[in-house]
Symmetry: D2
Subunit: 356 residues, 4 copies
């Protein structure tokens, strides 16, 4: 089933970009939790559109309505259901593209799969808009994790070939993690950040788009979570992260670079710190054999450039099978990487709730 | 549950490196299939140890015993169970390491998780040996896919910083795919292959190890497989691929390199070939919105260098919490990348059976 | 996870009796279906309260709002989400009972499980009201089944010790099945039906309640659905039927009476009818070895008498552990059997969608 | 997937009556348990054939071989796999029946489902023999439950219309429960038991068979296990119990008889015993709203008479569609109820492991 993830903390998202509403059902939230709804809305606003030159002009307040799972201010042990209305859908923008699949989008594959019945207005079920329910679930997960001393954060590690400073893989600080996550443009190095913003503006001016890489970390995770083989840290996190549109790669710890190292370089020696066994470095990204080591969990995800661009592109008419040139109008981000940052945090948080 | 994967074609692996046997139960194999057991054994031999200078000296015939699911030479619709005996376990080799977790291995995390009861002889349930049951399942899956015109193959794309030629992302040929997969050292460019073999020998002589990258492809896949959001091509493939020990990264199509491109470069224009809609390039790696496009599915996986090395390493005694130096004896591969090639194919094949 | 059922046609219900709304997400509805919303509402009205002397005075229009999964009048392949507002919740009625678990209800067990945070207003997540989302899903399932010639119906087989005529187990007619299902008081024999209504009125006058048995049938089901052992007809149907509050027993075909027969009596001889292999009788209730035989699927479910009664009852105060006498006020049915009839049909229909 | 059950304690059975072996994989057994293999074998012997006049002449030692999941005498946290060889298969007995489906058996439905490839020798995957792996898993579950003070037992409540005494629904004693379970012919009332044995002998002499009802109990179960709606006590237990061949009905507590009571009779008043809230009676069978109440869990399951009988029966030739008369030869039980008693206990124990 394509719209559910997890078992201990199971999320089921529903909706299309232009349906009446979108939302999420969360099973597995324990009873007796006082949810901080203001913090949830603050988190979701980080993902919401229309908040800077680099994002789409589509504006949605994206205020989640919690219609079940809470009574007298506390969770009551039944599923949470949050509904988010689609208030700013301009379906007309997409009518002219009905038979012309946009390159880089799911229009063609959804057409084949759904026999022509897929609702592709605004990207339908494939839209980045479907990450709003994920962010709701992630915000709830972050609160539950925080109560156990676990903090999740992320930043833009790379954008338009411009690199941010990396997280310190061994000594990331929870406070610093929160600080960067909450920045309007979440980078560690603001000089790099300004260059990235300039690159986005330049791409936009050229009718083009850019992609990037997000680095996400979780600290305070106890050792021993996850299961070997098919339910380990990497299996579970990668499964959900690829549910964020435009993600085309993921690596943990030293990842692809580690494949170029010698074993003697990539292995992390064990040592003792404050009476606890830790590793001196963190090439393993917090997971050995799929089980958490107690070191920060670290992954990097590759985000492709937004497929919606203003430049003319070549496609094929689904009805006539003739080649045509299209120019994708409507509202879209020249770079979705900044808005994908909270999505990565949400994915990591939901994954961790399922690994515990 | 850590040892199961999939739903339509569900595999459940069991066993430890030094238990009496290891094996796999496969649910979802249709009735009426005449399995080619010789082909299954040939495929499994590609993964088996002891077949070259670059592999461990541990020798196992790894002949699978099929104890259920077949009657009168045909599958009968009930689960297949294949058992592979562990004939060459030298448990004594590991006794001296009981309290000394090997850097880069799961010894420490398994100890924490299992409260000291984990069976870490030979790597236990974390051992690369647990990919033998995966390869059995993959060999069965490959036969079922082949009957529908789908071919899966892989090669070593990179090893010790030496690159092989890449697959042609648009026009990979099924026959060529089979040809490279079946080579003793599966590379497209034998000059590069020989350099890789030399690098492995050099690392071995130095008591060290090397890692690499495997590229895996599936051709003949119809458009329309997979589901948006959480059960798409990338979710399902990455989930199982991270079940192969030592994998630390995966990317589809242009992957991390694509994150550096402009949208106008990374988008694949649609065109018509033999009356069918195809893409001119294949930056998308055969998946748009998690659904197959009909183009070859392409992923690359990063394999870390074998953590078992002969060089002295620093660890911490689990009982005394004192730092100690260990030298990992026993038999191990200076590079597991070649033996991981059929594992990637198996993972891709099992994933595809679950996407259909 | 307690609120989900199924895999091919997966339903996830959410809400509490007195939350803002209740609802259901359905995954697995194929694209391209034109849902008959009027028929769905008609079906749901059969379950809705306030429609006769025998039901609760609580009135809800129970009109489902479909907020996703449909575009341009057709299902689009993404999950359906239907939301039903709780417009007539009188939470005050339950305040006085907060510490006094009602005998026969889940108040006590929910209190223990939820550490006192369960939302027991109106029965919370345990309320019969949670069958409204099930009926929505069942109504959708019935339409999908009808398109394949499968009809599901049910009647009150027994109530307050008064028996209705049974369905003809071999030759049930789809039209007759629909006819009885749609009756205001769904029985085959109206004389028996009137006696049942009198018994309900009598129980109500006495401040008491009565239970009964519902017989449910599916006809037109092809042979060969279901899987042996754990995913057969009986496993799947019983699993969902026990999700309807107050069900305490289920039997298929000859059921408990069959346990008293000789094998020579209970075995159903095979014969040929219109060139098709059928059975002469139907003691097996349409399932042999968990797989459909093509004969009508038949089950009977036992419904306990409504636990809410006006008579004084003995309970224990959760805070003081002192025995107290309570009289359950509020609005409740002296017999929920009639309203449970469409719920049985919904459960059967959803189960069949998962067996196909 | 038909051969798996559960999630926290997941069992996957494999094999056919006449395959090389049958067995089970159990996921979710915690590390550090010292399994009592002798007790497991004793439990399995209660189900094994050939132990009395009332059972089949097929003799199997049914000794399980544990091939994974244990190291140094303790479970190690990886799946247990137990294999049981099929040493006494007489496949020839079934050849003559290949085209003649036996009434009451799954021959016909399996033929339709498997397109003629189902392995029906000895009943194949539908055979009562497939309860041997269930009993292995149940024996393991019983040991894990016993460590937490939970005891599961069962007896023959009815056989050939002869009733045994019922369990005391409120004050069942764990020791008494074990005592009856371990009897050669598990009944509470030996006079009734002897009458049952005589009825079995009589049916056998007549070439016929008889069925019956088994009552199963679990005591020492804490209050608060199970989840409302779809994962409650009744859902989970009924799902697995219908995986035992020949079960056609199940009821909890007062069950079908309770449907005839008034609410004032069927409701169980709360009271206090030893400082704990309990119920005065146990019409609810230990479950209210799907959640355990702390009272004994009680269910009764209806077992149909063995379909294999020596009397001539009418069937239809699958190839010619002509009616024929068959006499089922081979070895079979005139009554399988006694051997089904440990199977019920196993099902209850495995279900409880999944409810915790």
């Amino acid at each position: 089933m394509s719209c559910s993830f997890g078992s201990k903390f199971k999320i089921t998202v529903f909706g299309q970009s232009h349906s009446a509403a979108i939302g999420v059902v969360i099973e597995g939230v324990p009873a007796g939790i006082r949810l901080d709804m203001a913090a949830i809305e603050t988190f979701m606003r980080r993902r919401a559109p229309g908040q800077g030159a680099h994002t789409t002009a589509r504006k949605e307040t994206d205020t989640p309505q919690l219609i079940s799972g809470v009574a007298n201010g506390f969770t009551c042990g039944t599923p949470l259901c949050a509904v988010i209305e689609n208030t700013n859908a301009h379906s007309g923008d997409y009518d002219s593209l009905k038979d012309l699949p946009r390159p880089g989008h799911a229009d063609f594959t959804a057409f084949v799969k759904g026999g022509g019945f897929a609702d592709m207005r605004g990207g339908g079920n494939f839209s980045g808009r479907m990450t709003a329910p994920l962010c709701f679930a992630g915000a709830v997960a972050k609160q539950l994790l925080a109560a156990d001393g676990i903090t999740v954060g992320a930043h833009i590690a790379r954008l338009a070939k411009i690199g941010d400073d990396p997280f310190d893989p061994v000594n990331i600080d929870a406070a610093a993690l929160n600080a960067v996550s909450e920045k309007a443009f979440p980078v560690l190095n603001d000089v790099a950040g300004n260059a990235m913003l300039a690159a986005i503006a330049e791409a936009k001016a050229a009718g083009d788009s850019v992609g990037g890489v997000i680095e996400c970390a979780a600290v305070g995770v106890p050792a021993g979570l996850g299961d070997p083989i098919y339910d380990g840290v990497e299996n579970v996190i990668s499964h959900i992260v690829f549910g964020i549109p435009a993600v085309k790669g993921i690596e943990f710890g030293s990842g692809f670079a580690g494949a170029d190292l010698f074993g003697s370089e990539n292995n992390d020696a064990f040592t003792v710190q404050n009476g606890k066994i830790v590793t001196a470095a963190n090439h393993h990204g917090g997971s050995l054999g799929g089980i958490t080591s107690g070191m920060p969990i670290l992954f990097r995800a590759a985000i492709k450039p937004t497929p919606s661009i203003a430049k003319p592109q070549t496609t094929v008419n689904l009805q006539t099978l003739q080649q045509e040139t299209i120019t994708v109008g409507g509202r879209h981000d020249p770079c979705i990487v900044p808005r994908a940052v909270p999505c990565m945090e949400a994915a990591m948080a939901v994954a961790l709730m399922n690994l515990r």
